[in-house]
């Protein structure tokens, strides 16, 4: 690729170990076929695990059992997380049933709806990966590029109101997803018994967009439809904000360079919000995305992985440089950005009627975990609904699910099933709990330093009385928790956020914008539950008494001087 601005050079430095693995992998094959077959271990060597991510899976192990198994002379309880791509979080009822069945047959009997509107299955054994992936593909879904240094699941607002607009925007999400999918035949060879394709046929580019080393790091795209910023459009590497004129999709405002991840104790890493650089028409959006991806491909940091995300590339060279480079590669210029207005990022629960006359039921799913417990048959209830539902399931960016496109004829039946299994819109919970987001963390995530999914509900049990006493039960406050600073639950956009540091200890952040337009800031470091409650209780009480009109919690803590507003990722740590 020609360098369009000779003054700007890609950052140098020796390539990281992952770069070596990628280039030697022969387009993501590595030794996977062989190491998957090795019957002596349920795991994979590190190199192949790195490659496996591109195929949509991570090796994990049950960390609760690690020590115990080591003493028993058993290797860690290796198992695989499998992520299923669902552009815009849309799945048919038939697809839902297949995933439900696979989760029981090969997984741990649960499904997890991710913060990027994808499905996750946990606990799949190595020997069952192939059959599971094959079955997923048979139902016209894929795991390819669900993880890895490529474009990830494209998010899109599930928007239950503007039905036609949803369909149109979601179609662009699907096309972006298809266009940016890796082309390597390795996926078919390994999982789908595809014919082995002769490599590097002369003149044939195997990965025309990515090339043989793929991207320096993951790349995320999200499409928002105002006034809802449920996809957290500014947390995306490439955010697209739908612009509607006369009820029709006119195009997208383009925001670039957002991202959540950072590393504790390293101020050269930070969350950042995307910046709006212009507007494009719908049919131009694929071109914009492809060229943006290729710029990151050519200029991203391939030496230091924690500085490899697109946000650092832009901050290093400047937003103006990026615009010039993009326009050069496009051969045309983005138009002036249009005005837009976001007013929230949370979900709207319960039944709503779309403009097309069909009904949508948004259900509250705690931490996005679909499973049955003794007193809550959530998974069974959703399965029973899927058996009769003729519309779609839509996963929301807040890890909830919408039974979408219900005809009036089916509505009564589905409402009955929802009632029979006690499927809830969360009305009995505080708005705080309904607005909560957490990542998986322990026991399966290898990165977790502290609990998240298993702990946040317990913490909420203790915060809710404070909220209720303060009369804030129906006040939405965006609260998020992750087990590590990599940001899966987009914690830097929580009005209240906890990022795990060690078992039982968290950094407390406050002051993000309610609609996802401002990052938060560190308020207390390394505190335990007692300190969390002691810290938050008086602030919540004060907020209840002193808030102005519709003032949100994130704005209040800044006005009250608890934290300074973070105006850019570059001053996140200041």
């Amino acid at each position: 690729m020609a360098n369009h601005d000779p003054a700007v050079k890609p950052i140098g430095g020796p390539p990281s170990d992952v770069e070596h693995i990628k280039i030697e992998s022969n387009y993501l094959r590595g030794a996977l076929e062989e190491t998957l077959r090795n019957p002596i271990t349920g795991g994979l060597p590190e190199d192949d695990n790195r490659l496996l991510k591109f195929h949509g899976s991570y090796m994990q192990d049950d960390r609760d059992l690690r020590l115990e198994r080591e003493r028993s002379k058993l290797e860690p309880a290796y198992q695989f997380m499998l992520r299923v791509v669902a552009p815009g979080g849309v799945a048919s009822a038939a697809q839902w049933l297949v995933l439900d069945e696979l989760a029981h047959k090969y997984g741990n009997g649960t499904l997890r709806l991710t913060t990027r509107q994808a499905f996750q299955m946990h606990g799949v054994l190595k020997w069952n990966l192939k059959q599971t992936i094959k079955t997923i593909n048979d139902t016209l879904m894929t795991t390819l590029a669900a993880c890895g240094d490529v474009n990830r699941n494209v998010m899109s607002s599930p928007n239950p109101y503007q039905s036609e607009l949803h369909a149109e925007v979601n179609e662009w999400a699907r096309r972006l997803s298809d266009h940016l999918a890796p082309r390597t035949p390795a996926y078919h060879e390994i999982w789908l018994d595809g014919e082995k394709v002769v490599d590097s046929l002369e003149g044939v580019e195997i990965e025309p967009i990515y090339g043989p080393v793929y991207l320096p790091r993951k790349f995320k795209i999200g499409l928002a439809v105002p006034p809802s910023n449920d996809v957290d459009v500014f947390s995306q590497d490439l955010g697209l904000i739908a612009v509607v004129q006369d009820g029709k999709l006119a195009g997208f405002n383009v925001a670039v360079g957002g991202g959540m991840g950072m590393t504790h104790g390293d101020v050269n890493t930070y969350p950042q919000l995307g910046r709006v650089i212009g507007f494009c028409r719908p049919e131009q959006v694929i071109d914009v995305a492809e060229k943006t991806v290729t710029i990151q491909r050519d200029y991203g940091n391939r030496s230091v992985r924690k500085n490899a995300r697109f946000k650092y590339t832009i901050d290093r060279h400047g937003i103006e440089w990026f615009q010039r480079e993009l326009h050069d590669r496009l051969g045309w210029q983005l138009e002036e950005a249009r005005t837009y207005q976001f007013d929230h990022s949370g979900d709207r629960y319960g039944w709503v009627k779309g403009y097309d006359g069909k009904w949508n039921l948004t259900l509250y799913i705690q931490s996005g975990r679909i499973h049955d417990t003794e007193d809550y048959l959530l998974m069974t209830g959703l399965r029973e609904i899927a058996k009769i539902h003729t519309g779609e399931f839509r996963l929301t960016p807040n890890q909830n699910v919408i039974i979408a496109g219900v005809t009036s004829a089916k509505k009564r039946k589905i409402a009955e099933l929802a009632a029979r299994y006690g499927l809830t819109d969360g009305a009995m919970h505080t708005a705080l709990r309904r607005s909560a987001l957490s990542c998986v963390a322990l026991p399966t995530c290898g990165l977790a330093m502290a609990e998240a999914e298993r702990y946040l509900p317990q913490l909420l049990d203790k915060l809710e009385p404070v909220i209720q006493e303060a009369g804030l039960s129906e006040k939405e406050i965006v609260i998020r928790m992750t087990g590590c600073p990599n940001g899966c639950a987009r914690p830097a956009l929580g009005e209240i956020a906890f990022i795990g540091k060690a078992p039982g200890r968290y950094n407390l952040y406050m002051g993000a914008g309610f609609s996802g337009d401002r990052l938060n800031k560190l308020y207390k470091e390394n505190i335990d539950e007692r300190e969390i409650l002691e810290t938050l209780t008086p602030i919540i009480q004060q907020y209840a008494k002193e808030r102005l009109g519709g003032e949100h919690f994130g704005d209040f803590v800044i006005r009250s001087g608890y934290v300074k507003a973070t105006t850019s990722g570059l001053n996140f740590h200041k």
């Binding site: 019957p39 002596i40 349920g42 115990e68 028993s72 002379k73 058993l74 290797e75 309880a77 054994l125």
Partner: protein, 615 residues
């Protein structure tokens, strides 16, 4: 040969010196002759050789006619699976040699059947396995005797010692078969057959005394066999003061569950300290463990019988005494019912049911009753018992030691012994049942506790002497234990030979015993290949024999290269299926007929290249 000292012989210092100078120089023939001479001298001249006349009458040696040489030849054959018969046979051989007999000692499968016709004195020691089956190394000889080729044996004098376990229906069946068959072929018994239960020491010693007397009687020689009484008791290697009869109380260093959470099995890996015991072992040997009965079962039994736990009762037949609780906990078997036990118990209860159960026509009912029941069932089902505990316990068998394959190498872990026990727990007849030793090991052998143990050598399960020889090991479940010992040993030796392990169990995730050990050994090259079969992970059950068949070509190639095959574990199903699979591999890959394949495997067995430790 043992060096004579004043302390271990009846001779004076000067006699000892003379004897020690003379004896080592004697040839075999000279020794036999001298033995006969001295024996005859003893009978004819009484105290002719007195302490005052220490000189050995060398010149006269040619004069007295020793007993006929032919009748001094004794053939001892053993059929042994775990090595008990072999050790007894070796001990017997030593005793006979001391008395001037010429002994031909061998395993049954190493004995040339066509020499049987010329054999005059035959002593046969054999154990019984499973449903009345001969041990591996007795099979071919057993079949020969029952075949048309079996010769008439009118000149044969023989005696049989059988080892077995009365809790099996076909108790000592193989010994009985040999005894009867030799009689049918015309042989005459030197002394009656003796069948030994698990506690074989005393009856075996008795048999040895009897056969030596009988052999001496045939020679018209004095009966000096009394010295052999202790033969069986000293059958263990004398290097350590500790033995089967005097176990060493070894401290538990480590006791781990090898099964992961969620498994329906529990397999303990136990490490014991042997420091200071003088005990050592070789790979393939077994560890004998004397367990304690489950304390709850003992309590329940005492309560059911209305006895007093503190009363004094005999602990054994030697006259030691202790409390009833102690006796039932550590000295008597209370978890197995046998027909002989029920016959004796029937005399101690007034309940009519037990006598009825023992009627000949109720054989099947008796068998059904015995199956899976213990002494507590008997106590409850056939009350009232109007018999004092001190009398009742005398009908009980001694609590036997359990043998476990040793799973460590002495060279790799000096002063330690590791073994592997799968806890047996199940419900039967409305009550939870526990394997005596396995549950003792699992629940009451924390680090710091002590277990009474001894080493049981197993000469029929030994690594090839040649470290370059390839080794194939087939050991599903706890059968894998000795192979950990084998591989640790080969690692220390720096053996160059290839190694191939076949392992199987139920589930990969939770039941892969010693998984990380094998992974390390594979990485380090100590283990060349590992193939596994987990039966519950797939719709179709896969076992080790399927893996053998899958790799038949390479397996046969290894055999052709001189590989030794070892099989350890379950006898009833696994060992049989593996044997069949090996035959198939040889037949198909070697292009042989079924008969030729069987002969090939027999040859391997005779060359000790196919060894099994099955139970």
């Amino acid at each position: 040969m043992v060096q004579l000292h004043v302390t271990n012989s009846p001779f004076s210092e000067s006699q000892v010196e003379l004897l020690n100078r003379l004896v080592p120089t004697l040839t075999e023939t000279q020794r036999i002759w001298l033995g006969g001479y001295l024996a005859a001298l003893g009978v004819n001249a009484g105290a002719a050789v007195s302490a005052a006349e220490p000189s050995v009458p060398a010149e006269q040696a040619a004069i007295p006619a020793a007993a006929p040489a032919a009748s001094r030849e004794v053939t001892i054959l053993f059929g042994s699976q775990t090595g008990n018969c072999q050790r007894l046979a070796t001990s017997l051989s030593g005793k006979l040699k001391e008395q001037g007999f010429s002994v031909n000692l061998s395993a049954m499968n190493s004995f040339k059947p066509n020499t049987l016709k010329k054999t005059e004195n035959l002593l046969l020691l054999v154990s019984t396995h499973g449903e009345g089956e001969p041990p591996d190394n007795a099979r071919s000889f057993y079949e020969f005797l029952y075949s048309k080729r079996a010769p008439q044996l009118e000149g044969l004098h023989y005696s049989v010692l059988g080892l077995g376990d009365t809790s099996y229906e076909f108790f000592c069946q193989t010994g009985k078969d040999f005894d009867q068959r030799l009689e049918e072929l015309g042989g005459a018994r030197l002394s009656p057959r003796i069948d030994c239960d698990l506690d074989y020491d005393d009856p075996a010693a008795e048999w040895i005394t009897q056969v030596i007397s009988a052999l001496n009687a045939r020679l018209n020689a004095p009966n000096i066999a009394a010295a052999a009484v202790q033969a069986a008791e000293h059958a263990d290697a004398p290097a350590s003061p500790f033995s089967r009869n005097q176990p060493y109380y070894a401290e538990v260093l480590e006791n781990l569950n090898l099964n992961g959470r969620g498994s329906d099995r529990e397999t303990r890996h136990i490490e014991l300290s042997l420091e200071g015991s003088g005990l050592s072992f070789e790979p393939g040997d077994s560890l004998g463990v004397y367990p304690e009965n489950h304390p709850q079962l003992v309590e329940d039994l005492i309560t059911a019988m209305g006895w007093d736990a503190q009363q004094t009762v005999p602990l054994n037949k030697k006259g030691d005494k202790g409390t009833l609780r102690e006796a039932l906990l550590r000295h008597y078997e209370i978890t197995v019912l046998t027909k002989p036990l029920l016959e004796q118990a029937a005399k101690l209860t007034s309940a009519p049911g037990l006598q009825e159960l023992l009627l000949p026509e109720r054989q099947q009912a008796l068998k059904d009753y015995i199956q899976g029941r213990d002494l507590l069932d008997l106590a409850v089902d056939f009350a009232p018992w109007e018999v004092p505990a001190a009398e009742f316990v005398t009908i009980l068998r001694k609590l036997p030691a359990r043998l476990y394959s040793i799973s460590s190498s002495w060279s790799a872990n000096p002063d330690e012994v590791h073994f592997t026990v799968r806890a047996v727990r199940y419900e039967a007849h409305g009550r939870q049942r526990y394997g005596v030793c396995s549950v003792h090991c699992a629940e009451r052998a924390e680090p710091g506790a002590k277990l009474p143990v001894f080493i049981q050598s197993n000469p029929n399960f030994k690594l090839p002497a040649n470290p370059d020889a390839p080794v194939i090991m087939i050991g599903p479940g706890t059968g894998v234990a000795p192979f950990r010992s084998f591989l640790e040993e080969r690692e220390v030796q720096g053996a160059a030979g290839k190694t191939w392990l076949f392992y199987g169990d139920r589930r990969f995730v939770t039941d892969f015993l010693y998984q990380t050990d094998w992974q390390r050994m594979l990485k380090d090259g100590v283990l060349s290949r590992l193939d596994v079969a987990f039966s519950r992970d797939t719709a179709e059950k896969v076992y080790v024999q399927h893996r053998l068949l899958e790799h038949s070509r390479e397996l046969y190639a290894w055999l052709q290269e001189g590989a030794h095959i070892y099989v350890c574990g379950d006898e009833k199903h696994m060992a049989h299926d593996v044997h069949t699979a090996l035959l198939t591999v040889i037949e198909e890959e070697g292009g042989m007929s079924a008969e030729a394949a069987a002969a090939y495997l027999d040859t391997l067995q005779q060359e000790q290249r196919y060894q099994r430790d099955v139970y």
